[in-house]
């Protein structure tokens, strides 16, 4: 990753201070994105083709397709061409923003992605907010009360949360809260009673814009269980990471100095210690984006949440090459951009990183 710094001549960014090193750092990172993107495109392209079977064969199910018909359809879809031709053709499309059309639904991949992505994003944002708001305080408390029953029970719960199989956890919550107690709806994004055109794709916002009485409330109630399920693993990871980072910082000289100066424990922990402990925590939060997307695949499947996770899983089963490779590219691009943002943020918090 450090190779990026060699890309730019020293003349442009002579000044050591100010924005220049930061810009250089950002450009360096951007330059690295190009080969990474190419690598991802190759993996995305070949991964789905490595699986046995092809989309044409799966179209007809138990009914066997005549070999001539199979060949005709493969030809029609351009799947009979040599792999490298298909790959370069695909790359050519990507450069012009053309992700191809689904072999199954015949709809453009990008359209479907844009349509479904807000649902995943809405769920992921809610989940990460919950994970951060609960995870950081839990980690701080556990570190401050190190070795007590409180620390042990918090970390015990975190360990359970971390090892929870999502599918089982989701079903358990549905059966208990929706089935047994009847507090929350079972699955979906909003009650079927409400129907309004999609404006932003975020149900919480769209339900407010719609002006229909009760729509927002319904959208919130449908969001509760999937948010809990998706937040579980990141919450556990963030809590554990915060705890260990805090423990490290609490032992530092400057914290002892702050304490001996008579600063209140809230100031010592909240400002001096936590601020420094947050650096690895932010990295962890950034890394959770990948975890969230992976978790979204299962969470969306259980809660019939119409996002990209469910869309990708269905497409793998149908060998919908275009959707799988296009979806993977778009997801990878997003993770790369988010990581870039995290890196930049990190650079701002800790100037030493830039060098």
């Amino acid at each position: 990753m450090a190779g990026g710094s060699k890309t730019f001549g020293p003349s442009v960014f002579q000044r050591k201070k100010g924005l220049a090193p930061m810009l250089r750092f950002i450009f360096g990172r951007l330059a690295v994105l190009i080969p990474t993107f190419l690598g991802v495109s190759l993996i995305a392209f070949s991964f789905i083709r490595l699986l046995p079977g092809d989309p044409v064969m799966l179209m007809s199910g138990e009914r066997v397709m005549a070999p001539e018909r199979h060949a005709e359809l493969m030809h029609q879809l351009g799947l009979d061409r040599p792999m490298y031709v298909q790959y370069f053709d695909y790359l050519g499309g990507l450069v012009t923003g053309d992700f191809g059309s689904s072999i199954v639904t015949k709809r453009p991949v990008l359209d479907d992605f844009i349509n479904l992505f807000p649902a995943t994003l809405e769920l992921s944002i809610c989940a990460i907010i919950v994970a951060v708001l609960l995870g950081i305080p839990a980690g701080v408390i556990a570190a401050v009360k190190r070795g007590t029953w409180l620390d042990q029970s918090l970390m015990g719960v975190a360990l359970i949360g971390y090892s929870m199989p999502i599918f089982w956890w989701g079903l358990l919550l549905i059966i208990f809260f929706s089935g047994y107690l009847g507090w929350t709806p079972v699955s979906g994004r909003i009650s079927m009673m409400y129907f309004f055109p999609q404006v932003t794709g975020f149900m919480l916002i769209d339900s407010l814009i719609s002006g229909q009485a009760g729509a927002f409330r319904s959208a919130v109630s449908y969001l509760i269980l999937p948010t809990i399920v998706l937040a579980t693993i990141p919450l556990a990871v963030i809590a554990r990471q915060t705890r260990s980072a805090m423990l490290e910082v609490l032992g530092e000289d400057y914290v002892r100095t702050a304490r001996s100066k008579g600063l209140s424990p809230v100031r010592v922990i909240g400002i001096h210690a936590l601020r420094n402990a947050l650096i690895p925590v932010i990295t962890t939060i950034g890394l959770q984006v990948g975890v969230l997307l992976a978790g979204a695949i299962l969470t969306e499947t259980i809660f019939s949440w119409p996002g990209i996770g469910k869309w990708m899983v269905d497409s793998v089963f149908k060998r919908d090459y275009q959707v799988v490779q296009g979806g993977l590219m778009l997801i990878a691009a997003m993770i790369m951009i988010i990581n870039l943002i995290v890196d930049v943020l990190y650079g701002f918090i800790n100037p030493r990183i830039r060098h």
């Binding site: 079977g53 199910g61 138990e62 397709m65 015949k106 479904l116 059966i175 999609q198």
Partner: protein, 531 residues
């Protein structure tokens, strides 16, 4: 003009929203997203439920709850003496749906029917490739491109279909979803505007429900078609709530979030039955599951060896273990609900002793064989691995060593049809149209060897019977021929017939008028919900 259309759209949405507050809305928890809304291009049952049985009609249709053909858009038909010409009289006064995106100016006529056929097989038809990768799998799978000589207009309300050879199952084929009748007027408009792909996204037909909106992977909305030729529906709105996980669908039904669900897990059925608010409808499915020997490979080329292996397997135990009672042991290759089912056929008795002796008499010793187990659950076989293990244990008792093999599903489908396949394969079939030909010729005919005929079994006596039945229009005559064919099948034993499973549909007790389709379709015409 633009302002006016915006105002109209706003009014339409407002009306719809106002309607949702008090209208009678039926919610169906469906198992998968539709592949699209043009039933000609797809093969998935969920697509047919979402497009063909709601928005569209066909010339003829299956009478609700049966596989009998009844008039639909065609009021009557005549078949020529040589069985090659079918003349359909169209129902007069049938209106296409009026939607936000299209207002029809004329009623159904012969042009619509001809358009609906020609787009599926005439390469020069502009609609043949109207979206990238468009293909007409059912149309070609049912052999129509080779069979059709022409489809012609006699007058505005008369259409003649001319065949290259007589084919009695044609009528049943015409009742199938893929040959739904579309509006040529709507197609022409889309073509003129350069928006042909909308045919697959905003469907428009003559059916009981008008398409309103599709929210991908979440819900499909329809409203009752006020102009429906069969009369307006009792419900106002129909919603498909797409819920892929069967356990979640069951929870939604129990919580009252939907009125009816498709395909429950076998394990959930008992709990659903115990719920006082639910009613469970059960019907024998139009399916069969089988173990197909490769009859081209010795010693499985000998009927007595196949018969002996059949007798060594306790199929009742398989049905009990895999289906927990929701299936029956099969003795014929067609299900008991299908016409021409021969109940007089005597089933192979479970008799390991006799089986062992038969094998010895046939000179087979220390037989080693493979059994192929499907990697997926299908309605006709929920757990092929478990079934294979039970067969393995049974066959071990007569000295046959079985190795169980499996492949990824797509690969399994391909490899299992190879002529040199090593081993016997578990597979099955769900009927498309209720015609015995759809099982007997499709799965066991000589033409299907190397394809759907997984037993690679070509028996002249059997093949002559089913071919003759295909060319005869008289149902009584066909019944006789198929009954005989089943006797030949049992004697020759190319398969060990395993089971016919039950189709189970759980629904709220408030639902009335839902009739289960033997073809496994979910048809909501005629349903009602108590307030």
């Amino acid at each position: 003009m633009k302002k006016l259309s915006t105002l109209l759209a706003a009014t339409a949405i407002a009306t719809l929203m106002a309607g949702s507050a008090w209208s009678k809305t039926f919610v169906y928890c469906s198992e998968a997203s539709p592949e699209g809304f043009d039933p000609g291009m797809y093969t998935g049952g969920q697509t047919f439920d979402a497009a063909a049985h709601t928005v569209y009609n066909r010339l003829v249709e299956f009478k609700r709850g049966t596989t009998e053909i009844e008039p639909a858009l065609a009021e009557s038909w005549e078949i020529s003496a040589d069985g090659k010409e079918y003349t359909f009289k169209l129902r007069p006064g049938v209106k296409f749906q009026t939607t936000e995106y299209f207002t029809p100016t004329r009623e159904l006529n012969a042009d619509d029917v001809i358009f609906s056929f020609e787009r599926q097989y005439k390469a020069d038809n502009a609609w043949n490739k109207y979206v990238p990768g468009a293909s007409w799998e059912y149309f070609s799978g049912m052999g129509l491109p080779d069979l059709l000589e022409k489809v012609e207009k006699v007058d505005d309300l008369t259409v003649k279909i001319v065949l290259k050879r007589p084919e009695a199952p044609l009528l049943a084929n015409l009742g199938m979803p893929f040959i739904s009748i579309l509006s040529k007027e709507y197609a022409d408009k889309l073509q003129a505007e350069g928006k042909m792909e909308l045919m697959n996204q905003q469907p428009l037909g003559t059916g009981p429900f008008t398409f309103v909106a599709y929210q991908p992977d979440a819900a499909i909305r329809y409203k009752a078609n006020p102009d429906y030729w069969g009369g307006k529906q009792k419900i106002d709105d129909l919603v498909f709530a797409i819920t892929t996980d069967a356990a979640v669908r069951a929870q939604k039904l129990k919580a009252g979030e939907c009125h009816l669900m498709s395909y429950p897990n076998a394990a959930d059925v008992a709990e659903l039955k115990a719920d006082p608010n639910l009613h469970i409808s059960e019907q024998a499915g139009l399916n069969v599951s089988y173990l197909a020997y490769n009859t081209l490979v010795p010693p499985f080329d000998k009927a007595e060896v196949r018969k002996a292996l059949n007798m060594a397997v306790n199929r009742q135990a398989i049905v009990d273990a895999v289906f927990q009672g929701a299936a029956t042991v099969a003795k014929n290759p067609i299900p008991p609900t299908m016409w021409s089912y021969n109940d007089k056929v005597e089933d192979d008795k479970y008799d390991p002793e006799a089986a062992k002796k038969m094998l010895e008499d046939a000179g087979v010793k220390d037989l080693k064989m493979k059994i192929w187990a499907m990697p997926v659950a299908r309605p006709y076989m929920l757990n092929a691995r478990r079934a294979a293990e039970l067969m393995q244990a049974d066959l071990a008792k007569i000295g046959v060593t079985v190795e169980i093999v499996s492949y990824e599903w797509a690969e399994y489908l391909k490899l299992s049809s190879a002529k040199d396949r090593d081993g016997a394969a578990i597979l099955g079939w769900t009927g498309d149209n209720g015609d015995p030909d759809n099982f007997l010729d499709t799965l066991l005919g000589c033409d299907a060897v190397g394809g759907n005929n997984r037993a690679q079994w070509c028996n002249k006596e059997f093949d002559d019977l089913v071919t003759k039945a295909k060319e005869t229009s008289d149902v009584a005559e066909r019944t006789k021929l198929y009954e005989e064919a089943q006797i030949v099948f049992k004697k020759e034993a190319p398969w060990n017939t395993l089971d016919h499973s039950l189709a189970v549909v759980p629904m709220s007790k408030k639902v009335s008028g839902f009739v289960q389709s033997p073809l496994g379709d979910f048809v909501f015409e005629g349903v009602d919900i108590a307030e």
